[in-house]
Symmetry: C2
Subunit: 180 residues, 2 copies
């Protein structure tokens, strides 16, 4: 049972990332996860419930990467973003966007529960950046600046089909500037 | 005739911004513009053709704002973004996102022609920023940093339901830092 649920979430994570939330239907999700509709609805009464599970999966993975890199100080976030975006690039052959940013852009005005769920991820992320800023004596407002820079760089790399390495380079330039 | 076309483009600009590209159907667009389907397809053989016209409308408006603010030097872009986002906030009661960033996030992996059309807008925008950087003796890479910051700040304000004033403040902080 748990395996079926997991298979649905992983299939959805891939399809939402490589296409978009609205572009993927329940039938596509069932086909990709190899489950029947009845089984799908048993685990997820709606596509929005599934989207929450997808967000949680990505958030857990990102948290893990950020914790693993914490010895890098303020650059930990650059290491974590590089890990995650580099893996997507390897898997999909291009930058497909930030899993949180994509859903934020697409759904914030049309599904307030999903908007709030994504906003919570960003709030926790900003808190971790804020803690790092305070540890290294950098102004508080830098946390938001770094978070915004990550989102903007990933979005530009996605639309301009640039490599993940440019996201890393841009992010390191900003962090070097604010810590100089 | 020209008025009908214009009415369709303006209705689409509003609906794509306040909802999303995929969430809006041809029937919604015809109802909002008060035109019949036959008339719609006469002007726009597909929704993607309409999206291009919507992008061009926003790009012309943004160019105008940027030119009007050019005496502000590197801050011109902050003035222009404030104008555009402030107007959306007044009209829709919230931050609905950047018209280019929203479409970039939603469509880059599913419609390559639209992706390229949005990428062109960003490329022209970055060129204008680059010219301003050179005029004020700021490193070239600052152009991309500012563009990414704008996109990230607007996206965060959209998902966290923050006011347009925070986008302006964040952007001015970044520009003040790079020109200090």
């Amino acid at each position: 049972m748990e395996q079926t649920r997991e298979r649905i979430v992983r299939a959805a994570a891939k399809l939402f990332l490589t296409r978009s939330y609205h572009a993927v239907g329940i039938a596509d999700l069932c086909a990709a996860a190899d489950v029947r509709k009845g089984s799908f609805y048993h685990f997820f009464p709606s596509k929005a419930d599934l989207a929450k599970a997808v967000i949680d999966l990505h958030a857990a993975e990102f948290d893990k990467q950020l914790t693993a890199a914490q010895d890098e100080g303020l650059y930990a976030v650059a290491v974590a973003v590089t890990q995650v975006q580099g893996r997507f690039e390897e898997r999909f052959g291009r930058i497909v966007g930030c899993p949180f940013g994509n859903l934020a852009a697409e759904l914030s005005t049309t599904d307030d529960e999903l908007r709030a769920h994504v906003a919570d991820v960003f709030a926790r992320w900003e808190q971790r950046l804020l803690a790092a800023c305070r540890r290294y004596d950098v102004p508080d407002e830098t946390a938001r600046m770094i978070l915004a820079q990550i989102q903007g760089l990933i979005l530009l790399a996605k639309v301009q089909q640039r490599p993940a390495a440019e996201i890393t380079a841009g992010l390191r330039t900003l962090i070097a500037g604010v810590t100089a």
